[in-house]
């Protein structure tokens, strides 16, 4: 069967089959247009990105494993203005630390991603080395339990590929992940909030 739109067809009314096809195609185009328009209906049209609410986070450790990226796009971040700059840091030192120093065996972080630098007696600054951080939230848990909660997790948007459906959001037990507008992409603690 040669369809009616071949170049050699005589001019005149459309063959029935071609007419039917044209009508159905118009209907299909209208359907796509309608669905698209309805989906993009009034409301917030801004692009959204994924972020986690540190107020809801329970430090379960799934951010490390569930992200489609390895290492995870979720990293620990530090709200310095909340930090007590403690010599013994609940987020840095292992609970069974034998001495309060930066020896590897006394550190809580499995990858040594927190840098401890002396500021002035008796204060120490704790900085996340982001390239080493795997987002396991061990330090966040320690800081939340024993400290001020100045360490917390955030999706880092220079790493996040902004999946259609965030793989961590799906398994987050605390429902802490949500889509946030792209122009306010962080849910911070401390003064920056």
């Amino acid at each position: 069967m040669s369809s009616g739109n071949s170049t050699g067809s005589p001019p005149g009314p459309l063959p029935r089959r071609a007419f039917l096809r044209l009508g159905l195609a118009g209907l299909a185009a209208a359907a796509v247009g309608g669905v698209a328009a309805a989906a993009a209906r009034a409301g917030e049209r801004r692009t959204h990105v994924w972020q986690l609410d540190p107020g809801k986070c329970v430090q379960c450790g799934r951010c490390e494993t569930a992200c489609v990226l390895t290492p995870s796009a979720v990293k620990a971040v530090h709200a310095y203005d909340l930090c007590g700059y403690c010599r013994l840091c609940g987020g840095y030192h292992h609970p069974q630390a034998r001495s309060i120093d930066s020896a590897a065996e006394n550190q809580l972080c499995p990858t040594g991603a927190i840098r401890r630098t002396f500021v002035e007696d008796p204060f120490f600054e704790y900085t996340i080395v982001e390239d080493r951080c795997i987002g396991c939230a061990v330090c966040v848990k320690g800081c939340a339990m024993f400290g001020n909660g100045s360490l917390f997790l955030q999706v880092r948007h220079d790493r996040c590929v902004n999946c259609n459906d965030c793989a961590i959001a799906r398994v987050c037990p605390a429902d802490a992940f949500r889509r946030v507008p792209v122009d306010a992409p962080y849910l911070l603690k401390g003064d920056a909030r």
Partner: protein, 437 residues
Amino acid sequence: MRPRATRPAAGARRGTLALALLAVGALPGVPTAAANVQRFPRPDFTSGYTPPTLTTPAPRAFGLEVLDVALLAAALVLAGHLALRRRSRKGLLALTVACLAYFGFVRQGCVCPIGSIQNVALAFGDAGFAVPLTVVAFFALPLLFALFHGRTFCAAVCPLGAIQEVVVWRPRKLPPWLNQTLGTIPWVYLGVALLFAATATDFLVCRWDPFVGFFRFGAPLPMALFGAGLLVLGLFVGRPYCRFLCPYGALLRVFSRLSRRHVTITPGSCIQCRLCENACPYDAIRKPADLAPPEPPARGARRLAILLAAAPLVALAAAGTGAAFGAGLSRANRDVALALELHGAEADNGAAPSLEREAFFTSGLPEGPLFDRARVVQRTFAAGGALLGGALGLMASAKLLGLSVWRSRTDYEPDRAHCVSCARCFSACPVKPEPKT
């Protein structure tokens, strides 16, 4: 003003305090979600130290998202031009590789039209979720182009299609019954994926995307094996994902059937030389069929009558099955799962509480709204399952009817629904294009 505790005199005292807190914190039952306790005051630095500020790297710029849409549109225009006007397999292959590189490896496979179905579905299911216009464009553009050019999106633009397109090595023909049967899976997948997306349960199509792991150089082991398995299968059975799984492909089939123009195997008129018969790796070439039907008309009419009479029954049975399945599937929803667990917890079955349950108790939220939400989701799943089952039942009947009706065909021509316009068959045709008049 932040509440300030008493100021400790020296670091030693600070350490002791922290150690004491360590001991307290080791007791069970200390809530860890409420982490905003200012246990230690902000130090007053005397050495002129200024604390660093928290960096907040910006997400991808909106302009780049728009650029993606523009590139998608440009690639679709180019694919249509290469397939229909230039009839260039080489050109299409080059475009395939380029799109695989950009939409696949650079953009890491997200957002893609296949997954965008779910964003659109979620926009209907959740009034609070507005789909970004760029995602709507990703959803609509390939479908609209299919109305004019056929499945040129599949031919050269889709990164999932591209990765399979380049591994086709020794394609085998599948028996028609198998091809047709497996070809119904995408409809089931599409229906289930829509149901899961509309209830904000899961984006199944994204999670089970077999190739996105390659684009990101990392995937959970089962998905990596699934993807590798499909690629190995793809050496011998052309494009297994596109033909037997892709839910967007199912939509494109319908749109391509209605397309205004579509690739033709021959640039002129078919001379029935049969050279193209084995050129298609995707079993999408229809052979000429005899003018006379192979059976007496009365028999065909009787079969049609039986099929027509059975259609409503099949649809009803399928709807019932769908409703039952839907109710079971609703357990995949997090609210339903948590509600069921909390409900079961009242009976105290002795199972260890899940993280979700603990987190829910820690949050201190009431159970009522959760149970209400879960009930709504369960009802949606049951109703959606029934609808989906009914629709699939009707489609199965329509398929059988379509197979049962005899249509004569004189030429070799592409099956508009299943042809992905890959242009492989062009080189098999010995007919030269007719000179333009």
